[in-house]
Symmetry: C2
Subunit: 415 residues, 2 copies
């Protein structure tokens, strides 16, 4: 075994032991520790800023882009936001211990299905140091032990954050940060299914692909959002324009932002000029199919590649479709099964759309931007899953739990 | 692309298309098709027997064991049982369409979490041809398209069963059987995450390990059952003996059978002779730790390997432990997190055990043998999952579904 293997396997064994202790903590005990974590983050502000300065200097020297450096940067308000986030998690209801179902069988045995922690969770992430606190705290609230593996650019910041969290009186090894940032550490973590119940990669497609190809345990994936809005022939055009503008421009670099607008052919000539004008006011670049370009004559052509593209930028592709079915087909073929919206005044059409689109979130007359744990009322979000198993769509605390069957009897045997 | 790759990828694309159709079927439509499948199986009895005879002859020639040949064998009563099983699935409630939760946000958007099919499921299995019908039918009931890949020994029987099922009017490609039985077909299926949402391997540890190491999509694993029964110091000794005998001998070759008996030191001298006598009446071979052998002087030694072993046979390992904590530690360390039981008259002790053992099913004063979808009242069982994500413990129809968020509004935008 290499030093990396030995270290990470030891962390795995320690995480398992910590998970058994965490599972026994009451909600009050966990919340008190969370508030202590928030306080420790605040008190450690000077240390965090000093550690972050080292990362920022190294990042500048390495020639990181200003966007990358901004992601990496901690300042007093970001540190305060991190601490406030932890305090907020302390106030949320604890899903662990919730009885999901309870029934008695004819032979008298009583069966209870009860929420329990998953156990041990690996988080692999890239440059944002605040993920260290955010992810660890959500896992802690749900009684899970975490092993964190952050990106190399943020290593000093991550170590400082983990050190602050460790001062709060959580069971030993409840939150562990891997001190290595090379690729081997990802492979070792992903292969360690005897110690790790789940891996959540937080980052770009490349990172997720790597983890998926290496992992022997379940991976919850937060892939792209190639999100659509379909303007049905029975749409209110003003509403369609307002929802399109909001979904595309309210924040364009996020997974629930709009990437492709689909418009029913019967309403295209009326709707497209209005929608396009509203989008241009917000400086959105438009690309269209041939039929779209017959109406919006000055826009560029959208190619096959555009339909597959998550721009994360002020660019929108537009396609005119012949029917609801064609819209659904386009979404199911080119989309990423994240969040797709229909705008229509026709309830029957809307319901057909909601039933037929194979996405985590399907919306009627609502901006795609509402696909979010906070907007759903979950109080906290670990991400938006593009998986279909275990957790689909916005993931809150509940999705960080498993369940167990507890069965009580009076000596019944099977005949 | 090889011929195998091309064929299986085409099946994947077809399965996805079929899944979209299946998701639109009503429960009544699905149940009518299920009853037609049962009828088709009955009508095809001569064909199934003829195909099975070819497999049996090939199996004999290859020198398969009589146990293997028995697993492979179809006869009229087994075919009737297969058909009756399908009729039974038709009578079960359909989980698809169930509203799991529904709430309205302060801004007026209405959120509904609704059960939907998972989509496309791959089933990889070994010699029992009845799995072809059993697994496909449960997936069909829940609106999922299946791709089946059975073992080479049963290929003619599997083809005949799939041909019978195909006569029942299900959407085309709802149930597809891979015509190849070589290893490459497993690798191709496991790598095809663009078309397949889930793989369920049904078979031995080697098969599951192979699928886990190759799969890019979620795998639901049905690993070993290394199940324990702990006789607490406050146990009723007669109940302990009765539950031990039932859990070990009622059917010993199954995953919920007992493999290791743990006995509290304070009750061992009284309890062990009684329990051992009852087990010997059923011809169970006993192996014990040193302390056990001081009481049961004529039994063999249990080695470290015994604690890790799923005998699936009339053999039981016995260990005396100092405390509840030691019992829990032993179970969490050596067990397979399947089903573990405490026998005690002390409710507080029982509750501590149930809370501390990290297994899918934790039982108090009930035989381990009740860890079963049928015994839980699920009506049908696809297996007993040893995973913690998505499905844990006995898996019925519900565990073959995912969910989707359907959100309805009046033009709300995010501010």
């Amino acid at each position: 075994m290499s030093e990396i293997q030995e270290t990470i396997h030891l962390m795995g064994r320690q995480a398992r032991a910590a998970a058994y202790k965490l599972a026994q903590l009451s909600s009050d005990e966990k919340n008190a520790i969370l508030r202590a974590m928030a306080a420790a983050i605040r008190e450690s502000t000077p240390d965090l800023l000093a550690a972050n300065a080292i990362d920022l200097a190294a990042g500048s020297e390495k020639g990181l882009s200003s966007a990358m450096l901004d992601r990496l940067r901690l300042d007093e308000s970001r540190i305060e936001a991190m601490a406030a986030g932890i305090d907020q998690v302390a106030t949320l209801p604890d899903p662990v211990g919730q009885v999901l179902e309870k029934w008695t069988r004819p032979n008298g045995i009583e069966i209870e299905q009860i929420r329990v922690p998953i156990g041990t969770i690996g988080i692999i992430y890239e440059s944002r140091p605040n993920v260290t606190a955010d992810a660890a705290v959500l896992c802690f609230k749900t009684g899970n032990a975490t092993i964190l593996r952050g990106g190399s650019e943020a290593i000093h910041s991550n170590v400082a954050i983990a050190a602050a969290l460790a001062k709060a009186g959580a069971p030993e090894h409840a939150i562990q940060l891997i001190p290595f940032t090379d690729r081997e550490s990802v492979a070792v973590l992903a292969g360690m299914d005897q110690w790790l119940d789940l891996i959540i990669p937080r980052g770009g497609k490349g990172l997720i692909e790597t983890v998926v190809s290496l992992a022997r345990m379940p991976v919850i994936k937060h892939y792209d959002g190639i999100c659509h809005l379909f303007v049905d022939k029975a749409a209110d055009i003003d509403m369609a324009a307002s929802l399109t503008v909001n979904a595309k421009t309210q924040k364009c670099g996020v997974c629930n932002a709009l990437e492709t607008l689909l418009v029913h052919k019967d309403i295209a000539a009326q709707a497209l000029p209005k929608i396009a004008a509203a989008l241009r006011e917000k400086n959105v670049e438009l690309r269209g199919c041939e039929q779209t370009r017959a109406i919006l004559t000055d826009i560029a052509e959208a190619t096959e590649e555009d339909w597959f593209t998550e721009y994360l930028d002020l660019i929108l592709s537009i396609k005119i479709v012949d029917s609801l079915e064609a819209a659904v087909d386009h979404i199911n073929t080119y989309g990423s099964h994240h969040t797709d919206t229909i705008v229509t005044a026709d309830t029957a059409t809307a319901e057909r759309f909601l039933r037929s689109v194979d996405s985590a979130c399907v919306f009627h007359n609502v901006s795609n931007r509402f696909a979010d744990g906070g907007e759903f009322g979950f109080g906290a979000e670990i991400g938006i899953s593009t998986d279909k198993l275990h957790a689909r769509g916005p993931m809150g605390l509940r999705e960080l739990t498993s369940y167990q069957y507890r069965v009580r009897g009076k000596g019944q045997v099977r005949g």
